[in-house]
Every structure is written in C-alpha cells, then in structure tokens.
C-alpha cells in the first residue's frame, strides 16, 4: 500500500521548569492511501504534538516526516504553509475564529490556493450538502453545536480534497451512533478521493477510534503500540493467545 504520510524515528521534547521532558520517543508510523489510522491516548498526553509534527506544524527534535516522497523537515515556512492549506488538512474542535462564517471556513483551503472566491463558495456549498450540513450555511462557528462542528469540519475536508486529513480529537465522545456516522463520512471521503487520500486521527478512547483501519495506542511514555490492524505493507496475522486472561468473569455457571 502506497504511503501518503510517514514518520520515522521521531523524537520531540519540551523544557519544563528547566528540565527536558520527552513527549514523543522514537515514534514511527505510516498512513497509507485510502486508510484511516487512529492514535488513541489520554488527554494532554502529547497526541496533538504528534499530529502537529506529522502535519509539519511542529518540527521534531530528531527523525523524519514525509508526505508521499517529500520530506517535510527542512521545508521553508512558506512552502509548508501552502502544503497545510492544500495537501494536508487539519481539523479540530477549535475550528476557525468564532465569528467566521461557515461557508467561508469550508471553502478557505480552495480560496488560499488561488481557486477564486466564487469557486470556493460553490465547492463549500456542495461539501456542506454532501455531509448533510446545508442548514449551517450563513451561520458562524460560535453558533454551531458540537455535532454541526464535526460535520462542517468534514465538509471542509470534502471541499479541499487534500492528500491527508489530520483530525485532532474531533470525533471524541460523540456517542456510538454519531461516531458511526462521522466515520462513515470519513470513509466516503476516502472512497470519493478514489483512495488517493489518507486520514490520521487522534482519539481519547478506543470507542472513538472503533472504525479506523489501524489503531495505535499512544502510551504515557510517548511511544506507539499497535493495537489493531497491520502496519502498512505487512500481512502477518496475530494469533489469539491461548492464555487469554479471563479471571475477571465470575465463574458462576
């Protein structure tokens, strides 16, 4: 499977109170074309930092990040900014400034890459229709419910047609049915791009990542542990262990 996004041996830390604290330790993963990959970890654990590094928004202390065959590390700010609006799309719950109008927000990636205001508006209208959020047109971000913000964020991904969509905690704690609906929209996004694009998402719990093709656990020590799905290009089947722990079930028959 061709990879659209790849990180290799990424390390990242911050200085806190004069002491260096590692947030990412030797993190490597890939997002293949047509894949939805989830990173599951606790809040404030460093998932957003990991996603920002993958998006090129933050530079790692060590390691490499590539979009297709292009290295993101070392690219100039202007080049990165263009990639971010066009080929890498970032979605989170914060969205734009609270007063930005929804259609403008959805069409923004097209407008900044020179497609013209009219075309951006038309694409935004189509995308809002596609995700079932037409009623949000004309409203401001601050006026939207959480679920509408999810839909509008996904509409932005539909309109922009990026190579990678990076979704930071947007699908968290939506409840089973809404998670299913949002995941279906993500799947359709991937399918309608003819599997050209991939999705990298973070989640605080396993339920929010239920429909991803591959699920990584982000550990407290800033490492990744594969929970489900095969790493890109590998097909090994993990056998169910014979010594499955089950002592938690009362043995009353």
């Amino acid at each position: 499977m061709a990879e659209v996004l790849s990180t290799e041996g990424v390390w990242k830390g911050f200085s806190r109170g004069g002491r260096w604290t590692g947030v990412l330790e030797d993190v490597s993963f890939q997002v293949g074309r047509g894949e939805v990959v989830a990173i599951v970890g606790g809040r404030l654990g460093g998932k957003t930092t990991l996603l920002k590094v993958a998006a090129g928004m933050e530079r790692p202390d060590k390691g490499s990040v590539s979009l297709g065959d292009r290295q993101l590390i070392g690219l100039g700010d202007r080049h990165l900014a263009r990639l971010l609006g066009h080929e890498i799309l970032w979605l989170d719950r914060d969205g734009p400034g609270l007063e930005m109008e929804v259609s403008r927000f959805v069409g923004w990636p097209l407008a900044v890459c020179g497609r013209g205001r009219r075309e951006a508006e038309r694409a935004a209208a189509r995308a809002l229709e596609r995700v079932g959020a037409r009623e949000c047109t004309g409203r401001r971000w601050s006026e939207l419910s959480n679920w509408q913000r999810v839909l509008v964020g996904l509409a932005r991904a539909y309109a922009a047609g990026p190579r990678v969509v990076i979704v930071d905690d947007l699908l968290d704690a939506l409840g089973t049915r809404a998670t299913e609906e949002a995941s279906d929209l993500l799947r359709s996004l991937v399918a309608e791009s003819e599997c050209r694009c991939g999705v990298l998402m973070s989640a605080s719990d396993v339920e929010s990542a239920m429909f991803a093709d591959r699920v990584w656990s982000f550990t407290r020590r800033g490492r990744l542990k594969l929970m489900s799905g095969q790493p890109s290009g590998e097909g090994e089947i993990i056998p169910f262990p014979q010594h499955a722990p089950t002592d938690r079930v009362p043995r009353e028959a």
Binding site: S183, V206, S217, S228, I238, R248, R251, A253
Partner: protein, 189 residues
C-alpha cells in the same frame, strides 16, 4: 444461569451443553464440570426436565429441555441488576499482596495480560471494521439478531480495548515505580 440459558436456547445433552458453554463463553473459562454439576440441580429445582435418558453409565448423554419455570427464572435474571457489579480482578487482588521482590515478575504478568487483551481487541476491532464495510455496501441488516451480534462485537472491542489501555497504564506506572526503587528513590518495603 448460563447453563439454564443454553438449555432454553435449545434442548441438548449434558455433553452438548458443556461444549456450547465452552464455545459461546470461551473467555469466561467456566469449569468443565459446570454443565455436569448444574443440570441435575436445575432438574431437581424444576427449571429443566430430563427429556431422554442416555445409555446406561453415560449420564453425559442425558438430554434436557427447559421448563416454563426455568424460562421465568432466566427472564428474572436478565432483568435484575447487581449494583455495584462485582468485579473479581485477580491483578487487583495480587496488588494487595506483592512485595518489591515480586515487582518485576508482576510487571511481566501485567504485560502478558495487556498483550492478550490487545490481541483480543485486534480480532474484535477487525470484525467491527468488516461489519462497517458490509453495512456501507449492503445497508444496515434488518434482522435484529444480526444487529444484536454487531452491538455485541462492538462491546467486545470496547471492553478488550479498555482493558488493554488500563493494563498499559498499570504496567507503565509499575515500571516507573520499579525504576525509582532500583535507583534508591523509594524504600520498596
């Protein structure tokens, strides 16, 4: 109660119920003797009845069926709650007793359980993703049993995923404690 439920699902021999108990509740690891011990008791209580006696000296081939009283008992159980539910967690119990000398071995046990739950999550999660593909291709199944099975699969994935994450946290905390003890930062007593 599982033995009674299985007989209500279908009439069966003692050996058949024992096999289904093992198949349908694999992770519960009920004792092999559960069906053999419980069916005669359930019969005494009038919750099941002997339908056909097996060959002499082969009580495992005795065939049982449910009685209306048994159906009522199961229905009552299905609708009853135990709050808070009892959790018999062996690791929690062991935590009560371990000493610093046991810590390394205990961390290894937690790691093995974590891996087992991760593998169980992988299997259940893959089934959820397959169901999602099928639903997207063919629409939501109409048969409520199939729907229920889908919900059960998601719940299994959730449960094993949560357990995997819980054990990952427990292991990491214990590893940190072990590092502190090894560095002389804690008395380890």
């Amino acid at each position: 109660m599982m033995v009674l439920g299985l007989v209500i699902q279908q009439e069966d021999t003692v050996a058949g119920v024992a096999r289904r108990l093992n198949d349908q509740f694999a992770t519960a690891r009920f004792p092999r003797t559960a069906a053999y011990k419980n069916l005669p008791i359930l019969a005494q209580n009038g919750h099941v009845r002997l339908i056909a006696k097996g060959p002499p000296n082969e009580p495992t081939l005795d065939r049982y069926g449910a009685t209306p009283a048994g159906v009522e008992v199961l229905r009552d159980w299905l609708r009853s709650t135990e709050l808070p539910p009892g959790i018999r967690d062996v690791l929690q119990c062991k935590l009560e007793f371990i000493t610093a000398d046991d810590l390394v071995a205990f961390i290894q046990i937690v790691r093995e359980e974590e891996e087992a739950y991760t593998a169980a999550y992988d299997i259940a999660h893959s089934a959820v993703v397959r169901e999602q593909r099928s639903r997207r291709a063919k629409g939501r199944p109409q048969d409520w049993r199939t729907r229920l099975r889908g919900i059960q699969t998601k719940d299994t994935a959730n449960l094993s995923g949560l357990m995997s994450k819980r054990l990952e946290h427990l292991r990491e905390e214990l590893e940190e404690l072990h590092e502190e003890i090894s560095a002389g930062g804690s008395d380890g007593g």
